[in-house]
Amino acid sequence: MKKLNLKYIGLFIAAAAIVSCETEFENPIDEVDVYTSGEADFSNYVAIGNSLTSGYADGALYLDAQTKSFPAIMAGQMELAGGGEFIQPLVNDNAGGLLAAGVPIPGFGNRFVLASDGMGSPAGPAVYTGATPTTDITNTVTGKLNNYGVPGAKSFHLGAPGYGNIAGLLLGQANPYYVRFASSGTSTVIGDAVAANPSFFTLWIGNNDILSFATSGGSGVDQLGNLDPTTYGSNDITDPNVFAGAVNGYVTALTSNGAKGALINIPNVTSIPFFTTVPSNAIPLDAATAGQVMSNPAIQQYNGGLQAAAGAGAITADEAALRTINFTAGQNFMLMVDEDLTDLSGFGLPNLRQTNDTDLITFTSASVIGTRADPNDPLSVIGVAVPLGDENVLTSTEQTAISDAQNAYNTTLENIAAANDLVYVDAKAALAEVAAGGVSFNGGVLSSTYASGGAFSLDAVHPTPRGYAFTANVIIDAINEKYGSTIPKVEIGNYRSVQTSDLVN
């Protein structure tokens, strides 16, 4: 009898053991071959480019945004489809500023954060002072990397020997970000990237070839026809043939071992809040003040002089109308200097006009518009009595020079992609959609509205981590379509927009 009982107890235990094993999904996604790489091979993905590739945001390269660079996000997803480890030249901290041998490098300060007024409302961007910079460019990163994004790089810089040589820093021939991870004093970014032996690459370059001209309000030169980039100033527009020659060389080198990859095109400068935040009619006046402004004899004299010049045939009636100053009650276009106007110095008239709907005002102008050029002189209000400078306004003439170059670059990128069986990613179209009303995602709308739109960081040029996640999804889509891979996208709502902080002094 006792034996029988033992049998039942044994059966009980055996049965308990049998049912104790089942947690698997019917279609588990963490098994091999659920996500595939198609014709591509993601085992060694290398990203090459400028600030957009590095993860730069909020006017600096700092750790949190760097770990959410679009290549890092993509690599995380590629891991599910045969991707390997992705090593970035990580900076040291979340301050963002750079040091050289312990000394802060001028122009490479801390990042911006969104400060509040202390009472629960946003105040505006401010330099983060909650941490001191510790990233010293003399502490170089050695070994193989996967992210060769160098903030500030133009197309021809990636192939320039010595771009990472610290000795060239003061001469403006080197870039401190590349100094950090250049393999030698004579290496090139593209050479280092090719040496990393990519099985797959993304190349996003050319943005700065027009952007620095744009953000400087067109104060550089359009170098169309000048094929020697060593003669270019930092705010110039790169000649499209120089761009094409550079990119062609890079792609040839990158594909020499059969690697596949993606070329990403150049978005419109009008897609970034740097040019869409400050309106061209930013000066509000009441009727009394407007009357006071117009009673200024200098204005009367200028307007009268224009009519005389037109009468003398020196300018057209249209130009006279364009240049005629008129301040009224309400929002007013701003007084500015335009070097593209007809020179009327013979008539004693300066190159002045008011801004109009076709002008783009730079984001950084917001801090000067409406302020006094001379703090003690109430009649020196910038934009009313004192004109905005060339660096504050991107005129339609300057915009045309930019878009001509941009279109030429993009045509080149599309052709090179087609010739080399590479993905051509239309980032221009994707960002234009973000700028035109926004793109819905799970939990919100991503738009390019400054600070609140979510897509752009507080420098008004570079994306937030959420904007980078959106970019990663756009590129993943294009790769999957071209190569038949099935890399999953990311939930962009899991990536932050601008960072708030009141640690600002």
Partner: protein, 416 residues
Amino acid sequence: MNKLKALAVLLLISTMAYAGGYRVSTQSNRQLAMGHTGVAVVNNADILFFNPAGIVHLENKLNFSAGGFGVFSDVSYQNAEFGTTAETDSPVGTPFYAYGSYKINEKLAVGLGIYTPFGSTVSWEPNWAGSHLVNEIELSAIFIQPTVAYQLFDSVSIGAGPIIAIGGVSFNRNAGRSLTNENGERSNVAIEDTGVLGYGWTAGLMFTPNDRFTLGFNYRSLINIDSTDGTASFTNFPVSSLTPANGETGFEATLPLPAELTVGVSYKWDKLLLAFDYNRAMWSEYESLDLVFDNGTTSINPRNYKDASTWRLGAQYEANDKLTIRAGWYFDESPVQSGYFAPETPRNDSQGYTFGLSYQVNSKLAIDASFLYLRFKEVNESYDFFTDPGASTASSFGGTYKSQALIPGIGVTYSM
């Protein structure tokens, strides 16, 4: 005959106690082994929980029973669109019970029960994809129930008692899907409260027209756990007046432990007893989990549970005078409605397969063992009512969930 018995045990398993929400149906080893039926089953002092009217039917003057369980539960999550996966690493839950009854005379009995009918411990990996809904949760409630039962007529007994509930909660989650401090660390809110008192009652009726047939009713009232003295900890928020300050603050919240109605029957043929129970849990009380923090912030989390039913079947066979074997099955309907599937209590409809046995050591003492395998179908669900701080649009968090729980238990019965 032995072959048949063995086959019966195996069949019950191969056809293959939690209930929905955060109810944990593990109030008796003997009854859990029978699918947690029991409103019409007089086995031992455990009847005090299932139907207070039943304690007057116990044969002995003094009856004790006590036991405990180990709840081993796993939940797996995956989202094929984004390639995200996660698994819980929950600590072992340990529900327990202890009952005692004393028969004053043939018509009147009194008793006291201590048991843990509600609880949940779910631990996800920190900062997993759904961490804005829950990283970790631990709910517990200990019920203390003094009971009196009276034989009203020859075939009808009634019983009732007040319930004192002692509740505790700890809950930890990230403040949003992407909110971080200046160093990129996820902002987090954790709340904790213990020793929260709640009060309710239970009443039952048992109808025994003959030796074989029993009919039982039991009602257990709603108990609200009103947490007012707990602590909330805000960590990793940026230093900004746009977000809550870091540090500790108070909070208020109410967690309902819903009312439950049970109707059941049992029928006895010689050594075999069959039981059927139907439970209806009034989960619709749980509309929203609202946390009001003393620092001025609130967290509104719609739940919108629905009333839910459980159907239970159980069988008991006295194999010999030492050994009794039991088996059961139940179907447990989830109170969670589509679109409200939050990973803190990731429960869809489930089926429980139970079995167990009692071994009579001597005339007074028996050892009771049980095992429950709770199987959930894999389910594609989402929680659609979370809004990130500062956002105006709610976001949906969803994917495929697969849960299971294994609950072995052991206890003793002592009568004199």
